[in-house]
């Protein structure tokens, strides 16, 4: 019973945190949201640091890691609202190609993902996964589990950041002669956000563990993690903006960068009611419970 990451995984998180903070500050996120194309430099830097190749087998120039090696990096990417395609290429494409692809496909994509040279859209199309103009047949189930699991951790990172920003703001902001954060209504909002994250985060960690170990409940666990991360983020989104008040509505303030990132990620691969509907369509309550 050890529900924790290992030292290497924590070290990778620290490296990612430092790299993201340096290479992709809010000003860059803002510019890209404003329409500036995503420069490839950050992605290349991530490749050089070994992040892009985390899940690429060693034989193809990667680290041969699993979904578990990505989890904390996802959270950091969410915390920084990273625009790079970490989920798409490293989280979904690489392991899918490694396990379901032909030798040609492996040769074509895996070294390129690890080196940061790959530049292709990834999507699930029916039962297949499509990478650029290439099609990996029948890999959709595995791809969804990875997409759910990864998006859940990205979202939890966004939620964590919303709590951090809001906590900082309500400590600073004074109204009626005291910090806004000393009002019980504000305290309770932030406490509920914290508790929600403390619930959705272990669910995402478990999903990563189940995906990494190909457990029988991996698909369900990943779906549960995505639903939980969606709901936590929706709560955090609502109360973060409410606690910021007027300033949160200005273009100038950074809050909206994370609100909008959260919205996109909640939508990615399914919103909660859609995911529950799909769960109910595939499984009876008895199977789930």
């Amino acid at each position: 019973m050890n529900f924790d990451f290992d030292d290497t995984q924590y070290a990778l998180r620290d490296l990612a945190r430092e790299l993201f903070a340096k290479e992709s500050p809010p000003s860059r996120v803002r510019e890209i949201r404003d329409g500036k194309p995503v420069d490839r430099r950050v992605w290349k830097t991530m490749a050089e640091a070994g992040i892009c190749g985390i899940t690429v087998p060693e034989a193809f120039g990667g680290a041969g890691g699993t979904e578990l090696d990505l989890t904390l990096v996802y959270e950091e990417a969410g915390r920084i609202a990273l625009p790079e395609p970490l989920l798409e290429l490293t989280g979904v494409a690489a392991p899918i190609i490694a396990s379901h692809g032909t030798d040609v496909q492996k040769e074509r994509w895996l070294p390129a993902i690890a080196s940061g040279d790959a530049d292709a859209d990834v999507r699930i199309d029916g039962e297949d996964v499509v990478i650029g103009d290439d099609r990996i047949a029948g890999a959709f189930r595995d791809a969804y589990a990875r997409a759910f699991s990864g998006t859940a951790s990205l979202l939890n990172g966004v939620s964590m950041r919303l709590v951090e920003m809001t906590t900082e703001y309500v400590k600073d902001r004074h109204q009626f002669g005291k910090p806004v954060g000393s009002f019980q209504a504000v305290k309770h909002k932030l406490a509920s956000m914290h508790v929600a994250i403390a619930s959705s985060r272990p669910a995402a960690w478990y999903a990563s563990y189940a995906v990494a170990n190909e457990l029988a409940d991996a698909s369900i666990a990943a779906c549960v993690a995505k639903i939980a991360a969606n709901d936590t983020n929706e709560l955090c989104d609502g109360d973060a903006l409410q606690c910021h008040g007027g300033i949160g509505f200005t273009w100038e303030h950074d809050l909206h960068l994370w609100l909008k990132r959260g919205m996109e990620l909640r939508d990615s691969f399914g919103r909660s009611h859609e995911l529950r509907r799909n769960l109910a369509a595939v499984h009876t309550l008895e199977e789930l419970l």
């Binding site: 309500v170 305290k187 403390a198 669910a203 563990y209 939980a228 309550l285 419970l289």
Partner: protein, 358 residues
């Protein structure tokens, strides 16, 4: 990360499950003398079976199996989970020798005397007083919500020994024999008709000074150990909520997609809680202290428990439930109040974890 159990833990689980299947019986509720004695006998049998609960993981395995086997209510938890760790931390060797063995073999049952009518969430507001006379304290006052107060053998109580001191000071932690003259328990009938808790009145009750745990007027510090032990205890088993949901799933209209969706929402919440408890267990197993994060856990399980029964009542209506279901329903409603209300817990999370100003 490795969430599998060792083969030893697997054997332990099998042994517990097997023993419980053979021994669990249905007992009368512990709110009557007869029911209480039946539970005491069960606790002795359980203690004698000697399941070696040395680490948190085995203990969690035991509790999960106990729950799934529908084992009887545990009347020893106040002794084993609260008094024993407090004695180990603050008791003298003589005190430990006097009380620990009878706690472990279930021959003496303890109850807790913290709450008072005017001091619910605000423990420092207690008014029960103890005045020293020679080698004894004379205790006068009243405690409330004392579990098994009418039948327990011992009670540990917070009493005010220095009436001049401010709030947290001047409080002493005292072990009181419930069979002393002047101890009068009055059972509390709950809104569902259940008994079990009592008010306990103390009128000139004489307690040897030797029964003070820790130092006189230092009881608040001792009580923090008790409350800390309560918090550090592994969280309520998630298996319980999944079991409640399995029951709920049989009662709803399965052709109603909205009802199914409501159960799925609870399922997601219960799974999140299950993973959270695994994480807590893992931290404890690695020797980490949970500390203030216990407030997060309390909020998680109490809010989940309420939701399960609130939504359950809404989906099934009040007309078709057993007495046991209703007992669980009202107990779930109380979950956000006892052991620190949700409001207090959120204050703690905000102030002590997030660092918001008081």
């Amino acid at each position: 990360m490795d969430l599998t159990y060792t083969s030893e833990q697997g054997r332990f689980r099998a042994k517990v499950r097997d023993w419980l299947v053979r021994n669990v019986e249905s007992l009368p509720a512990p709110g009557t003398r007869e029911g209480f004695e039946a539970h005491r006998a069960w606790e002795r049998k359980l203690a004698a079976a000697g399941f070696d609960e040395t680490d948190v993981v085995t203990r969690a395995i035991f509790e999960e199996e106990y729950l799934l086997a529908n084992g009887p209510e545990r009347i020893t938890v106040v002794g084993t989970k609260l008094m024993a760790p407090t004695l180990i931390a603050h008791g003298t060797p003589e005190q430990q020798e006097r009380w620990l063995p009878s706690i472990y073999d279930a021959s003496e049952i303890w109850s807790q005397g913290f709450s008072e009518p005017e001091a619910g969430s605000d423990l420092a507001g207690i008014r029960t007083r103890a005045v020293r006379e020679g080698s004894e304290f004379v205790v006068n006052g009243q405690k409330i919500w004392t579990s098994y107060g009418a039948f327990a053998d011992w009670i540990f109580a917070l009493v005010r020994t220095d009436p001049e001191a401010e709030r947290h000071n001047g409080i002493t932690f005292l072990a009181i024999d419930m069979r002393s003259d002047g101890v009068e328990p009055r059972p509390i009938t709950q809104l569902d008709g259940h008994a079990g808790f009592a008010e306990v009145f103390f009128t000139d009750v004489r307690v040897p000074v030797a029964n003070v745990i820790g130092d006189v007027n230092d009881g608040w510090r001792v009580a923090m150990t008790t409350l800390g032990a309560e918090r550090e205890a592994p969280a309520r088993p998630a298996a319980r909520y999944l079991r409640d949901l399995r029951e709920l799933a049989t009662m709803i209209d399965r052709d109603d997609p909205v009802a199914v969706d409501e159960v799925l929402k609870l399922y997601v919440a219960a799974k999140c809680y299950e993973h959270s408890t695994k994480r807590t267990l893992s931290r404890l197993a690695n020797g980490e202290a949970i500390g203030i994060d216990a407030s997060v856990t309390k909020l998680q399980w109490s809010e989940l428990e309420r939701r399960v029964f609130d939504v359950g009542l809404d989906l099934t209506g009040p007309g078709n439930h057993t007495e046991a279901w209703w007992h669980n329903y009202w107990y779930a409603r109380a979950a956000t109040i006892y052991a620190g209300t949700s409001e207090i817990q959120r204050n703690i999370v905000a102030e002590r974890i997030l660092g918001l100003p008081r």
